[in-house]
């Protein structure tokens, strides 16, 4: 018996290791674009966490080395104030990721709550909530974010608020529509029949079932939120100095020094594009996984 057990145990461990690896391999093979998105996102997160280790200079300290082209001392060159661009781009990932994740979570959380309540209660509450969402969607995203940002004044927190406000109606609409469908299921009726309170039904029985579309929404909005921060900062209404924000770097650098120092334009924009590209690829792959009805459709 003992000998048998040993003989069995060895291939089993081997098998487990192989399935874990092969599952990952299968995902990469089936969804190479999603895997690429995952790699880009991991790079972004690593850059944000280890920004201090990865950067070669102080990202906000100015120096006499003005507009130095990319080279061995300054990997991506320096800007018009002699700040090292590589260090600034690396630190910029923190701002982008922070604003992107925070505004998406706040917007999707508040919007999701509105959608849950309005979908579950229906009636007048639903009508009023929907009209409010109409109003918030009557302006293009950037216009509303601009007015919000101007009203609140430029700061990191206000940029997050301005962008999250834009996400609220989208999240509310999406969660509401899934709540409307889930509400009709028999298990909800049974829960009510055995005397479960409305609050508990809404939060324990309905909310967890909206998680699939919610995750899809969050990843889809993350890229948009990063782009929104870039645009607001570019226009001077987003994250203020001295925070190194990618959008802000483009606004100061671009106008004056673009011809003399094209690296000032190229690298921050490349960073924005790669970050958003990563979230978009990953978002598409996640949607295919979590929402089988849409599998492979876009």
């Amino acid at each position: 018996m003992a000998i048998n057990a040993i003989e069995v145990a060895v291939p089993e461990r081997h098998l487990q290791e192989r399935t874990w690896r092969s599952a990952l391999w299968l995902f990469v093979r089936q969804n190479p674009l999603g895997a690429l998105g995952g790699v880009l996102m991991v790079l972004l997160v690593v850059a944000a966490i280890f920004a201090d280790v990865l950067s070669t200079h102080n990202p906000v300290r100015t120096s006499a080395h003005v507009l130095v082209p990319p080279g061995s001392e300054f990997w991506l060159g320096t800007d018009n104030l002699g700040r090292d661009l590589w260090s600034r781009v690396v630190h910029g990932s923190r701002i982008s990721l922070l604003v992107g994740i925070a505004s998406t979570l706040v917007g999707a959380g508040v919007g999701g709550l509105i959608g849950l309540v309005s979908g579950y209660l229906g009636g007048k509450v639903d009508l009023i909530a929907q009209r409010l969402m109409d109003i918030m969607q009557a302006l293009p995203i950037l216009v509303l974010a601009l007015v919000m940002a101007a009203a609140l004044g430029p700061s990191l927190v206000n940029t997050i608020i301005a962008i999250s406000v834009v996400i609220v109606p989208r999240a509310a609409r999406l969660i509401r529509s899934s709540v409307l469908a889930i509400r009709e299921f028999v298990y909800i009726e049974s829960a009510r029949a055995i005397g479960v309170s409305h609050q508990r039904v809404a939060f324990r029985h309905i909310l967890p079932n909206t998680i699939g579309p919610f995750i899809v929404l969050v990843t889809a909005q993350l890229g948009g939120a990063i782009l929104g921060e870039a645009a607001l900062s570019y226009l001077g209404l987003g994250v203020p100095e001295p925070y190194p924000s990618w959008g802000r770097m483009l606004s100061i650098a671009a106008a004056e020094y673009a011809q003399k120092a094209p690296w000032l334009v190229i690298f921050p924009g490349l960073a924005i594009s790669l970050a958003v590209f990563g979230t978009n690829l990953l978002g598409d792959a996640l949607r295919d996984k979590l929402d089988p009805r849409l599998r492979g459709s876009s």
Binding site: I135, I141, L146, V147, L227, L250, V265, S273, S298
Partner: protein, 318 residues
Amino acid sequence: MKIYIFKRLIIAGVTLLGMSMLIFVLMRLAPGNITDIIFESAGYVDEADRHRLEAELGIDKPVAVQYMVWLGNFVRGDLGKSYRYELPAWEVIKPRLPVTLELAVLALGFSVLLGVPTGVMSATRRGHPVDYVLRVFSLAGLSMPSFWLGMIVILLLVRSLGWIPSMTYVSPFENLGANLFQFLLPALAVGYRSSALIMRITRSAMLEVLREDYIRTAWAKGQRETQVVWRHAFKNASLPVITLIGIEFAFLIGGLIVTETVFNLPGVARYLVDAIQGRDYPIVQNLAMLIAVVVVTANLIVDLLYTWLDPRIKYGQA
């Protein structure tokens, strides 16, 4: 149907009213008003002068009163005066409208011309390398900030051709060729993003339709590929595509704000940013209202187009 249109018009009116209140309150929450900006540049502040100016502009009254005054004037077609230009707001907005409109139309035209064929191609060659290339191309369009794309294009032109695009606006009535040439690049920069959205929705709508039985029948009848794809499939897949095009037209304005800034075009979208920064309330309020009217109207038209495109959809009878 008439009842439905009537209902939709009422909802649209309520939406616009709510939006105008929102913008009105937000702009007045903003720290500092026009008098701060004027007196800051003058260097000294005489409180009495300042109050006189505030009273003259009517911004010393409670916000609710100010709003009612604005609404009353707006309904009568009086948009008020720009604080900074001493001109009626409409006079300031009017010359800038055609620039933005032309850019929006060109960008949308470009995005449809690029997005629809690539979407169809990607759907009919699903899983093929062409599909992958087109999907990456469209996702790249969604990932690049349009203002950055504009900057890179200008940079490339200067570097490779030594040619600097004209940064002074040419009216189409002066020189149509030069005007179109000038609008080409910004339209491409903005349109690329929209084309990516259109391509994606075209692809998914086409994939849905291509699965249908009648498509198999069309193939079985021995019809040519162009017939099956465009006449049978695309016609039925066009509904979501048209919805998106309608919505995108209105939402292009967001992309135009930054693009007009990059290409130095004197349009309303860029002017909105100037007005916000200058606390020029009448301009911001009316421009936002104008944009909202465009968005709400576009949505309404799209909804009504549905019944025309797909006779199975009937409103007001559900």
